[in-house]
């Protein structure tokens, strides 16, 4: 291998190790549906903090419970697990990921690939921009208000 190749490969291996170390100790949102009462306080405060008003249709989390024909209780658990699939698929590089997802709104074109690929179906494209959970800078508000501790950050 050339010197450049060695340096490049070394860099890549070290970067992988760093990411894996981070992923192992990195905090993520966790959800226990048995404790969820479907109050949607999570979506309310998420939107309040990010949008300056209570507007759950723009929240970066979408947890709900509903009755299926009145006969059974179902849960929709759309929340960001920091899987990174949005980051890996973003065609413009607008999405970055370390211990949280960040969206560069200058670079985001609203193409919607992230929303399509998101396995939790929690990404929203609103007015041409991707709305993705940013963990409220490592101290998620949704976790703070979840009344029965269904949402945790650990």
């Amino acid at each position: 291998m050339s010197d450049a190749n060695v340096v490049f490969t070394l860099f890549f291996v070290l970067r992988q190790e760093h990411l894996e170390r981070m992923n192992g100790t990195m905090k993520r949102l966790k959800f226990s549906k048995e404790k969820c009462i479907g109050c949607q306080l999570c979506a309310q405060v998420c939107s309040a903090i990010h949008e300056g008003m209570y507007i759950p249709s723009k929240a970066r989390i979408g947890i709900e419970t509903y009755y299926d024909r009145g006969g059974s209780l179902k849960y929709k658990d759309s929340y960001c697990t920091l899987c990174g699939i949005c980051f890996k698929n973003c065609p413009t590089g607008a999405i970055s990921k370390d211990d949280r997802i960040k969206v560069d709104y200058e670079a985001c074109t609203g193409c919607g690939v992230c929303a399509d690929k998101c396995p939790k179906k929690v990404i929203k494209i609103i007015e041409g921009k991707a709305y993705i959970c940013d963990t409220c800078d490592g101290d998620p508000m949704c976790v703070k208000v979840c009344p029965q501790g269904a949402l945790r950050f650990e």
Partner: protein, 586 residues
């Protein structure tokens, strides 16, 4: 003030027109929202003496300034109109998510006027309002109708519907939402049915603004943690209202056999422990912090519930201890769109009439198959149901048995025995919509907290006033009363955070009093006086035999004394009427 949308959606069903108008902010400053504000609108807009089942009646769905915010337990919707059961004002409080959807759609309230020419439903999505045909839904149970609408629009939408009971204009008809939440009392379902309105489907994607929202959200989260989620309130998450069963059994106010006695030695056969063995999940309303809803599955019997009222009326009060029958009765009543309390009380009165040989209604205590069948017959006004749909007041006027027709003004008794909690006889008598436990919840003081002796008239006027004032303002914000530790100071702080206007605890108390007064003024204008604040003679003539209240009956003079105490506290005259000077302040 912020918190409001400052926007009312006014629907003329006769002309199929939808218009918006600004909220009367001057009225909101006096009555806030939900209960108080809906009554104020009806007081101003309804002429006295109208037939509640005519197109002249109005049905108001009213939110409050806190609706759609992260204030815990703020997700209930007030539904108000003139009651076809009593002729009084009637405001209900329904859970689920429809209050938030209406608010996020951009409205403080929806006012329904007139009558559709044929069965239909209203579709609301933000500023898109359409009038749809309900031919395929009419005649169906509330659950099936809701399922069909959710199949069509998706479960982002909230459905408010009536069952067959509302369609037949049964005065015990309720309004349903989210399958298992009700605007239960006073026949509001019949008002909706009289307008040929099967359902309202609503979704909203807008928002609610409050001042300094980022700081406010953090302060509200603190209050949630420190106050809402303390043990005094979280019993609601653990067992829901089944917890009241034990408290009432121990306190000697659990009614048995149509209020002929109290305490039931079989109560452990249908109590919370037994019922919750079939728990599938917990559920709360929008913005709830407590999650009182118990979703139960017992074979093919499913229900979110039953609440304490429904357990008692289909349990010991019906001479039944089979828990499956209790849950089945609740499921059927919900689907039929029938108030479990009024329909249940009517059937158990019919049981006593049959047992006593006064008139054979074909049902005796403990016959739960008949009870459940009778719920369906009442809802569809078929067979014996056509008679029973009249309710205990009219039935007893026809056939006798008035002494044990447990009702006030035509609204049947909630499940607390007043001989075990004398102040409750007053609370039932003076409540604005007939016998109701959600105005002054006397057992809290007289039995559970034991802060005042139960078997005396002493101080009960003041006690009932304080409880009624507290609930009146709380239900005008509106906050659910399962946040039991919520006091005037906290309410004032929450109102200040949400609206940006400085509210004090004294302001809250003043609003509470004003709401009691305007409801009474509405009824006064309809001709109600002290003679209508009644109690069934059973309370005066028959002593309890069992429980802590054994030997207790309420002397009629004591009952009349409690009434006069209450009138005096409020500044009403001896005939229970507001003087002109007080009416002018409303």
């Amino acid at each position: 003030m912020l918190g409001y949308q400052n926007n009312i959606l006014r629907i003329n069903l006769t002309k199929k027109e939808a218009k918006t108008e600004p909220l009367r902010m001057d009225w909101a400053e006096k009555y806030i929202g939900s209960k108080g504000l809906s009554i104020k609108y009806l007081y101003e807009e309804l002429k006295p003496g109208i037939d509640p089942l005519s197109p002249e009646n109005k049905l108001i769905f009213m939110t409050g300034p806190l609706t759609g915010t992260s204030v815990p337990c703020s997700g209930k919707l007030a539904i108000a109109g003139k009651s076809p059961a009593t002729g009084t004002i009637c405001d209900c409080s329904i859970g689920g998510h429809s209050a938030l959807k209406i608010k996020y759609a951009g409205y403080d309230a929806v006012i329904l006027e007139g009558k559709l020419d044929k069965p239909g439903y209203l579709f609301i999505e933000n500023d898109k309002i359409t009038f749809e045909d309900a031919a395929e839904l009419w005649g169906k149970g509330s659950h099936e109708a809701e399922a069909m609408l959710i199949d069509k629009y998706g479960h982002d939408y909230s459905v408010i519907s009536i069952g067959p009971a509302g369609e037949t204009l049964c005065t015990m008809a309720c309004i349903n939402s989210d399958y298992y939440r009700q605007a239960g009392r006073g026949g509001m379902g019949a008002v909706m049915g009289s307008k040929n309105l099967k359902a309202v489907v609503v979704n909203g994607t807008g928002g609610v603004k409050i001042p300094n929202i980022k700081e406010a959200v953090k302060r509200i989260a603190e209050i949630e943690k420190e106050d809402t989620l303390q043990e005094d309130n979280t019993f609601v998450y653990d067992g829901g209202t089944t917890a009241f069963l034990e408290a009432c059994q121990d306190g000697g106010i659990l009614p048995k056999l149509n209020f002929s006695d109290t305490t039931d030695e079989d109560w452990t056969k249908y109590n919370g422990e037994v019922l919750l063995e079939s728990l599938e999940g917990k559920r709360g309303c929008g913005s709830c912090g407590l999650g009182c809803g118990n979703f139960l599955k017992m074979g093919d019997v499913v229900c979110e519930g039953p609440e304490y009222e429904s357990i008692s009326v289909a349990g010991p009060n019906a001479g039944n201890s089979d828990p499956v029958a209790i849950v089945k009765a609740n499921q059927v009543a919900d689907d039929m769109g029938l108030d479990t309390i009024s329909a249940g009380d009517t059937i158990i009165w019919a049981m006593e009439m049959t047992e006593k040989g006064i008139r054979d209604f074909g049902v005796r205590f403990g016959e739960m198959d008949k009870y459940i069948e009778y719920l369906k017959l009442i809802a569809r006004k078929e067979g014996i149901g056509a008679e029973l749909a009249l309710g205990v007041k009219k039935l007893s006027e026809k056939y006798g048995g008035t002494d044990f027709a447990m009702q006030v003004k035509g609204l049947e008794y909630p499940q607390y025995e007043p001989r075990g909690s004398w102040g409750m006889s007053l609370a039932y008598a003076v409540s604005d919509r007939g016998a109701c436990h959600m105005r002054a919840y006397a057992p809290n003081e007289e039995v559970f907290a034991a802060s005042i002796p139960p078997y005396t008239p002493e101080g009960k006027g003041e006690m009932v006033f304080n409880l009624a004032q507290w609930n009146a303002v709380k239900f005008s914000l509106c906050i659910c009363d399962f946040w039991g530790t919520l006091n005037m100071e906290l309410m004032a702080e929450l109102m200040t955070l949400a609206t940006g206007k400085e509210w004090t605890a004294a302001d809250m108390a003043e609003v509470g009093t004003r709401v009691i007064n305007i409801a009474r003024a509405f009824n006064q204008r309809e001709g109600f006086t002290a003679k209508d604040d009644t109690a069934p003679k059973r309370l005066f003539n028959e002593a309890l035999k069992n429980g802590p209240g054994a030997g207790q009956k309420i002397p009629e003079e004591a009952f009349e004394d409690m009434k006069q105490q209450y009138y005096k506290v409020l500044g009403w005259d001896e005939n229970g009427m507001l003087p002109e000077s007080l009416l002018a302040t409303l």
